[in-house]
């Protein structure tokens, strides 16, 4: 059983809102689904949106956009990264 936390749900909701994924619901995004490419289909502009989301909501500042790619691989990866680095 995958561990489902509030953070996972919160992230999904924020992503849907921030990236205007109008037709999607929290339950449509799997925790281990790739967010970019063949999965959800996000692109480099979305990655920049997510970088700001990390800073604004969790106080994590990324300076290298390339790093985003690893962190935003899936909801699971994002949640792990946030738990380990959040300042708020």
């Amino acid at each position: 059983m995958p561990i489902m936390t509030d953070l996972h749900t919160e992230l999904k909701a924020s992503i849907i809102e921030q990236l205007n994924l109008e037709d999607m619901e929290v339950s449509d995004i799997e925790n281990d689904e790739p967010l970019f490419g063949d999965g959800l289909g996000l692109d480099s502009i979305d990655a920049l949106e997510l970088i700001v989301l990390l800073e604004k909501d969790y106080g994590i500042k990324l300076t290298d956009p390339k790093k985003g790619r690893e962190i935003f691989e899936s909801i699971n990866k994002m949640a792990d990264f946030i738990e380990a680095n959040r300042t708020k």
Binding site: S44, I45, L48, I51, V52, P65
Partner: protein, 393 residues
């Protein structure tokens, strides 16, 4: 259809000089114009910008405008540069002259200043329409009394290059005999924060075509050329000819350039074709070279595809910063200066080649025989334009 297009005048105002002479002097002495913001009010006090160190008040004074004027900063810079261009071309009568202006930021400087004031304060409501590029163009046209064919091109960073291209086509077709073309853009919080939010804004001076490039730096400028049909220019000093132009779309991404630089490649191919030149005849390339990871690699690939042997090339954005819509205009002026003085201007801050493409720009001022110069300007929306200026018609 075979009318040649002569450049009979040019004018420029940028962070490296208020006129042609100052700009040329900065280019040959390797003196760049980047500094931290003094006029632009922003929290980004450490970001280098190519700022013109003159307040709007002083610029307006130099043009004798009264206090109720509605000139945006881009209109102020543009009017000053256009004044030099028409003086240079000895034009006094503006009845039969067209004006194609390139601007992208337009009057955003006024919009961002007064946006929250308009509702409750009447003072600056004359700037409500300033948000749109045509407004800035109209201020400039009105100053000189240019009343007929007046239009604005707004294709982001290729705007002025496209304006020059359109002007040349208007003359070639016989629709106009004389037209002022170029562009103007000022610095604004809108664009500074925009590029910063894309994480492609450099905290150091720009390093175009360098392996360690960290992004672009914005600048502000205006530059115009006077184009005339060869018949009209017969008894005038001709600076050069607009011999080639090409416009294509990368059709890849709203902001990023494609990996192999398809749009850039197509634009250069079309320019060479209209100029009836082979790639080896190009003596100098004033590259787009914004110093972003993406542009410089993509442009390098397009250059390699176009040129078997690379001519001397440089990005003068290392002097001026990226002046957005005006870039194609000031770089046209630099290209014409290269022809006039038979010299190649350096690409500042370059240290090591990009691994994938290994292109090495000119890093020092060089004298060279220059008959044909190619100038590249690419923008958001995939808009790519290349121009060719030739010494002889």
């Amino acid at each position: 259809m075979s009318r040649s297009v002569a450049v009979t005048g040019m004018g420029i105002f940028s962070a490296i000089g208020k006129d042609l002479e100052e700009n040329h002097s900065s280019l040959i002495h390797g003196k760049h114009g980047l500094s931290t913001p003094e006029i632009l009010e922003t929290i980004h006090q450490k970001l280098p910008i190519g700022e013109i160190k003159a307040t709007n008040t002083n610029l307006a004074k130099s043009l004798n405008l009264d206090e109720s004027h509605a000139f945006t900063r881009a209109a102020l810079l543009g009017t000053i540069a256009l004044k030099e261009a028409v003086k240079n071309a000895k034009i006094k009568d503006f009845t039969n002259i067209g004006f194609v202006n390139g601007t992208s930021v337009g009057g955003m400087d006024m919009t961002e200043r007064f946006y929250r004031e308009y509702e409750n304060d009447e003072t600056n409501r004359r700037f409500i329409q300033a948000q749109h590029p045509g407004f800035t163009t109209e201020q400039i046209a009105g100053y000189f009394g240019i009343n007929n064919y007046v239009t604005t091109i707004s294709t982001a960073c290729s705007s002025a290059a496209n304006a020059i291209m359109m002007g040349a086509r208007l003359i070639k077709s016989g629709r106009l005999d004389r037209v002022v073309v170029g562009g103007t853009d000022c610095l604004s919080r809108f664009t500074l924060n925009g590029f910063n939010s894309l994480m492609i804004y450099s905290e150091d001076f720009p390093k175009p075509f360098d392996a360690e490039r960290k992004g672009l730096n914005l600048g502000e400028a205006a530059a115009y050329l006077v184009l005339e049909s060869a018949e009209l220019a017969e008894n005038k000093e001709i600076l050069a000819y607009v011999s080639g132009y090409g416009n294509a779309n990368d059709a890849f991404h709203q902001t990023a350039s494609s990996e192999n630089g398809e749009g850039a490649y197509l634009a250069m191919q079309k320019a060479l074709k209209t100029a009836k030149l082979n790639p080896h005849q190009i003596d100098y390339i004033n590259a787009h070279g914004t110093a972003t990871q993406n542009n410089d690699l993509s442009e390098s690939r397009a250059l390699i595809r176009t040129f078997k042997e690379m001519p001397a090339f440089s990005s003068t954005k290392s002097f001026t910063g990226h002046t957005l819509a005006a870039a194609g205009g000031i770089e046209a002026v630099f290209s014409l200066l290269a022809i006039k003085h038979q010299q190649i201007y350096p690409n500042l801050n370059f240290e090591s080649v990009i691994n994938e493409t290994k292109l090495e720009p000119a890093t020092e001022l060089k004298s060279a025989k220059i008959d044909h110069v190619l100038s590249n300007s690419f923008g958001f929306g995939g808009n790519c334009t290349s121009l060719i200026f030739s010494k002889n018609g």
